[in-house]
Structure formats: structure tokens, C-alpha cells
């Protein structure tokens, strides 16, 4: 049940666009989109890890990396 947390698409690039194109655009698709109702007895993070991550549930954890400095 591993759904992608990010999707990509490739918008049209025109020959007369003013800026160098960002050819691949991405958007987040975090886990809540794929879990209509959380089933019981899912695995849990340790209490400390849960506090750091913002969720008790690995199935709900969603990483996000800054676009800063990555040219996108």
C-alpha cells in the first residue's frame, strides 16, 4: 500500500517563453488522500519519534523537502 507522496507533470514549453523552463512540475499527494478511514492496530512510532515527526503513525507520515536552492 505504498502510494507516491509526490506526483509530477510536464507542462507545455513554448518557444517564446521569457524564462528558462522548469520542465517538470511537482505536487504533494500525502497519505491522507489514500486512507479514507484509518484502520485499527496500525504500527506506531516510538513516543519520542512520534513527537518529532508530528504523528504517531508511520502510515500518516509525509516528508517534505524545501525547494530552496534546488533550482525549482
Amino acid at each position: 500500500m505504498a502510494y507516491p507522496q509526490e506526483q509530477e507533470y510536464y507542462p507545455f514549453v513554448g518557444p517564446y517563453d521569457p524564462c528558462p523552463p522548469i520542465t517538470c512540475k511537482t505536487y504533494s499527494t500525502p497519505p491522507q488522500l489514500y486512507i479514507p478511514f484509518q484502520p485499527p492496530n496500525l504500527p506506531q512510532f516510538s513516543p519520542h519519534e512520534a513527537l518529532m515527526k508530528g504523528t504517531l503513525w508511520p502510515a500518516l507520515f509525509s516528508p517534505y523537502e524545501s525547494r530552496w536552492g534546488k533550482g525549482r
Binding site: 484509518q38 508530528g54 500518516l60 509525509s62 517534505y64 530552496w68
Partner: protein
């Protein structure tokens, strides 16, 4: 009533002097999809929703105030030691002439918060769908804020807040399923 704990829900560390980031963070303070709007929306809607989901709105609405406090801490840390010249360079000169370095409920563009940002329709499904949308918009705002800074400590706190929006969104989606009283859904367990 509430019981106050004198600590933040998650630590806020800011390692880079960047008053302009304070201006951007105001979007989550007094913006349309910010934490104030979220807290007031849920804590108001809870009176006219079926009993099964009142507790959910109560819990999430309360947590949003804890998030508001984290954002306030970030803004305060980023502006308290900024000189007037730095505030002007950060685009906070208009804020300064009205508020000095005080925090105020406004968005990143300086527009003051308004109750017109939130709704209480009285229709439980309409209200919960608004709440799901609000959580997804707040999640997106956190993404764009994370994109706008290279301060990894600030990013860390913002990533925590983004994750909480994801959990809230799922809980509101579950509330819709509960109110639909969808028996098939329960067979999925």
C-alpha cells in the same frame, strides 16, 4: 474551559536573522488559511454539529491555538532584535508605523484578519468539507513557507506543522464517513 501548559507543542528554533521571513510567516498567523482562522472556525462550528464529531472539532480547534503560538514565537524571534532599517528592508515598514514590533493578525501582504475568511453553514457535511479544504490549504502554505527559507531549524518546526495538517485532514475525512454512517466502510477494517 481550557488548561494552559506553559510550553510550546513543538520546539521553535530560528537560527538565521531574517526579518523578511517573519513577514511571510504572518500568512499562517492572520491569513485566510492560517491558524487563527482554523481555531476560530472549528471552535465555533462545534456547537451545531452531531455529537459524534463535536469532540474532534474541539480537540483540533484547541490544537490550532497551540500552532498559532508557535507561529507567533517564530515571528517574535525574527523581529524583536531587528533595527528599523532592517524592518524597512524586510518590507515591514508599513507594519512598523502601525504596530512597532508588536504582532498583529494580518496576512503576509498586510491585510488584517477578517471573520469573512471562515464559515459556519450549519450543514455538517458542508462545514466538514470546508474544514478538509482548510487543512489542505494550510498544508500547502506550510510547503511554500518551507520553500522560502534555507534555515533548517525553522524548516524543522514548519515540517512538524505541515504534518499536523495532514493528520487533521484525515480526521475530518473520517468525520464525514462517520456522519455518512457508511457501514461498508467499516467492513474495510
Amino acid at each position: 474551559m481550557w488548561i494552559y501548559e506553559k510550553k510550546l507543542q513543538y520546539p521553535v528554533r530560528v537560527s538565521k536573522c531574517d526579518p523578511h521571513m517573519a513577514k511571510l510567516l504572518l500568512e499562517q498567523y492572520g491569513g485566510a488559511d492560517g491558524e487563527l482562522a482554523a481555531a476560530l472556525r472549528y471552535l465555533n462550528q462545534r456547537y451545531t454539529i452531531p455529537e459524534k464529531v463535536i469532540g474532534l472539532l474541539n480537540d483540533i480547534g484547541t490544537e490550532e491555538f497551540a500552532h498559532l503560538e508557535m507561529i507567533a514565537t517564530m515571528v517574535y524571534k525574527l523581529t524583536k532584535d531587528a533595527t528599523v532599517e532592517q524592518l524597512k528592508a524586510a518590507g515591514l515598514d508599513a507594519h512598523y508605523v502601525s504596530h512597532d514590533r508588536a504582532l498583529f493578525y494580518e496576512n503576509a501582504g498586510g491585510v488584517p484578519w477578517t471573520a469573512a475568511y471562515i464559515q459556519a453553514k450549519g450543514d455538517p457535511i458542508a462545514d466538514l468539507y470546508e474544514d478538509i479544504a482548510a487543512e489542505e490549504k494550510a498544508r500547502a502554505t506550510y510547503q511554500w513557507l518551507i520553500d522560502m527559507t534555507d534555515d533548517v531549524d525553522l524548516q524543522d518546526s514548519l515540517k512538524f506543522l505541515r504534518e499536523r495538517e495532514i493528520v487533521h485532514s484525515l480526521r475530518f475525512r473520517e468525520a464525514v464517513e462517520i456522519l455518512k454512517d457508511n457501514k461498508d466502510m467499516k467492513k474495510v477494517f
